[in-house]
Symmetry: C2
Subunit: 522 residues, 2 copies
């Protein structure tokens, strides 16, 4: 790195990111980001990964952040490029994932001329960013990058968007050199915790449900918190659920078998209504996913809630303290067993059973789409220990990009993307990045050639599915050929129609490295 | 249609749209739009078209609006679904295309609970919408839809975004019935025009350039305006250019051969600097595309500009009045001839020449990507009369969707999408909709397996392309197999490597109906 180059704003910015622990950049740059591309050339501490569409980049940053607890950066092209990545930034916001978005903009003196690509980046960024900042000088580049990293780690993790006009990338910095700043997350005061009062309330309650929120190691769905919750359930005769869409949940052998809170309001209410107390361990107060006529949005009234820890806080320690205080017994072995399966045509439960049997230890499973997502979570209690990542925000098209980011974050762990055909089309370009980087990902596409979730909603209350509505929720004419599609992007593909074929293909895929796609014909 | 159904907000809304001339809906609905989907079932006046990703829908609405001058509607799923369509709405904004976006939202009483899909739709919509409105009652649905259509036609065409909470779709309307409102565009006062003063200024000038803006029949790049401009050029010894990225331009035999104003500042300045007067006929004052060091953003100073008509105004009549006033001669035949081509490996000029030779009369060509876009425009002066649509806003991924919308708008005209491999990936899912609807579109993909525009920018000033920069602008590892990719989506595909092969494939494709993809190996 020469002195001349180091002094440019783009170099100072990247050096500041690297100094603050950011070492991965998911990029889809354009002309206004080219000085940052040139600076990447000179910055050995930052690895760049290309996505062919921006939602690939932002979803990958989400997957990376969920697995590492630290931010990747994205590199996006002005407002329109940023806009293409908003949907997965929305999911990342719900997952509380730290991400630093670098958005290039026109050279500052060019903005008043309203050239074709000029747009209101701030208005686009605010809904998915806890922090938005526009650099206004070259000397601002390094401290703004440092501030962006700190902001991304605040409030339990959030998006931090830094707008970088091209002239401040290119210009020579005349300010002071970058100061090294620790990459530790910005701490905040934890919520109040009165151990004795909590214990008294639980001991007085007749029917208790624990609701566990996802996240990192200390979250409600980390190993320690789940083990402590199992002790509490045994001591109190309580039940426990994972929140419906955890950002990250540990699962499998050695862990208790807590299912996810059901999606639709009727079964969710059936699970929660009997409870005198619903304990929130890193979960938000549960609400229905959509507003349904005749159903209150809040699934549990405030006076039945006991907030043990907020999302992003250390749920594990509080659960452990509570278990010790209540002299809860040591953890008994989970009684979960792997579900049996027979050879035959594929069904969602059959797929779930085969995958649960074959899943390698320490696998990461990116789940999107309800067709196989729910059955797999139910079947996976006795699978080898693994990590599950789900769609937290409901913006579809995150299954493949999150798998990509997880594979970049954890190159020694096998990644599985368990996805449905409808949602996978939104970010299908991810397949190319998987091939380009030879990422160790097995993509399992449940191909039912329809938007099944919409049909389920259309049919609620025994309603008939009309002809146009059927046409508008069909992916059947023509059927997408997933094997050919994968091959076009350089990913070896195959199609299976029976559980036995699926088992065989999975065994092959898990014995090798590199991306594979398996179309599961339903 | 039963009375019960007619009274629902969704039915009233769609009926109001149909009454106001909107008869096409490009949709990617979700759960919060299902009552609008049910209402589509009952509304014979509206045709629905599915896109597998929202940018397909918004780009198609842009193409439809450019060709018809009236709005299509889109149907999008809350903030994240809308966000996926922003990039092509940005292009539509620059094209001044009328579009009505229908965005579902949570049932109004559910919004305070901040469920996973809740987002700030207004903040996302404002940068690409001239008008944003949220329905606050069932009775509001019909008048709001009418207002949205009027708003979309105001200011020469713009995006109008109507947010429709689910309960106001489902609820029974208790308001007055929908009043029929004429679908005529909202008129606005035109800019001032002093014919004699304009004529005097032009007669006094030594060197004149006309800059023609794209749009509908009366725009600077409609037939009448170009013919009048040719007369003026002959009378005044003037030159004329199309703006660099016209939304819509008529081109070919019977029309004068006006090239596009060059993209990079050096050649653009070479064209404009000699002019004493630059006449803007529906074009904005020209600015550089990006801010370049050493180049002023404004390509022409204000005192050399003569604003004859603003974008969206009737440029043709003013040019004709001017030509008559100056007693300009009748139009002479254009001297343009079709460029010759020899058999051999494909080059951009060779592709342009072959396509110009083979293009059927009244074809519509959606151009995206510079590799073949510029050479084709230059070669097409003597082609059969056709219409060209270009990328107006610089948000890439519009080539296929705009072609789709144009094909829906003009089912009797052959549509060609002349695109590059880099930009086409952003909305590759459009191929499925083309197959699903059997649209009569020939997709020509120039496959150079790189982001050529970025490499050109990186190499400006004889700079060297670094290793990482080359990797980040390469689409080479692996090469995307476009033929296989098209087939996966149900579009017949083929690959050509020579001009002769291209000619043969084009002749076949133009002799048949339905979608085809031809990969042009460069």
């Amino acid at each position: 790195m020469t002195d001349t180059h180091q002094a440019r704003g783009a170099d100072a910015l990247l050096a500041s990111l690297v100094d603050n622990g950011v070492c991965v950049c998911f990029a889809n740059p354009g002309t206004t980001e080219l000085d940052l591309v040139r600076a990447l050339e000179r910055q050995d501490g930052m690895r760049g990964f290309i996505g062919l569409q921006e939602n690939v980049c932002t979803g990958a940053a989400d997957g990376y952040g969920r697995m590492t607890g630290k931010p990747a950066c994205t590199l996006l092209h002005l407002g329109p490029g940023f806009a293409n990545g908003i949907a997965n930034l929305h999911n990342a916001r719900r997952a509380r994932t730290p991400i630093v978005n670098l958005v290039g903009d026109h050279t500052s003196w060019h903005l008043p001329f309203d050239a074709p690509l000029t747009s209101d980046i701030e208005s686009l960024a605010t809904p998915v960013s806890g922090w938005v900042h526009r650099i206004t000088s070259v000397a601002d580049a390094a401290p703004a990058a440092r501030a962006a990293v700190r902001a991304s780690l605040a409030r339990g993790g959030q998006g931090a968007t830094l707008i970088v006009p091209a002239d401040f990338q290119y210009g020579l910095s005349t300010g002071a050199p970058t100061t090294r700043v620790a990459s530790a997350p910005a701490r905040q005061a934890g919520s109040a915790f009165d151990l004795a009062a909590c214990a008294r309330r639980l001991e007085a309650a007749g029917n208790i449900v624990f609701l566990l929120g996802g996240g990192g190691d200390a979250s409600g769905l980390g190993v320690r918190a789940q083990q402590a919750t199992a002790r509490l359930c045994a001591a109190l005769g309580a039940r426990a659920y994972a929140e419906t869409f955890p950002s990250r949940a540990e699962r499998g052998q050695g862990l208790p078998d807590f299912d996810r809170l059901p999606y639709f309001p009727e079964p969710a209410r059936a699970a929660l209504d009997p409870a005198d107390v619903v304990v929130l361990a890193g979960a938000l107060p549960p609400v229905t996913y959509f507003g349904y006529e005749g159903h209150a949005s809040a699934l549990v009234e405030a006076d039945r809630l006991l907030a043990l820890s907020a999302p992003g806080e250390d749920a594990a320690s509080r659960l452990e303290q509570l278990a010790d205080h209540l002299q809860a017994p040591a953890l008994a072995a989970s009684g979960a067993t792997l579900p049996a399966w027979d050879d035959g045509a594929l069904t969602p439960p059959g797929i779930a059973a085969v995958l649960a049997h074959e899943l390698p230890a320490q696998a990461i499973v990116s789940v999107e789409g309800g067709t196989c997502g729910y059955p797999f979570y139910a079947a996976s209690a006795a699978a080898r220990p693994h990590t599950t990542l789900t769609n937290t925000g409901g913006a579809i098209g995150q299954g493949l990009p999150v798998a990509m980011g997880a594979a970049v974050a954890c190159p020694d762990r096998k990644v599985v993307a368990l996805v449905s055909d409808g949602s996978t089309q939104y970010t299908i370009q991810t397949l190319w990045s998987m091939a380009h980087e030879a990422l160790d990902i097995v993509v399992l596409v449940a191909a039912n050639h329809q938007y099944a979730i919409l049909r389920n909603e259309l049919r609620r209350g025994n309603a008939t599915l009309g002809e146009k509505a059927a046409a508008m929720t069909s992916l059947d004419k023509p059927r997408i050929d997933w094997v050919t599609l994968a091959q076009a992007y350089g990913v070896p593909g195959s199609r299976v129609g029976t559980t036995r074929e699926l088992q065989s293909r999975l065994q092959q895929a898990f014995a090798q490295r590199g991306p594979r796609l398996i179309e599961m014909a339903l």
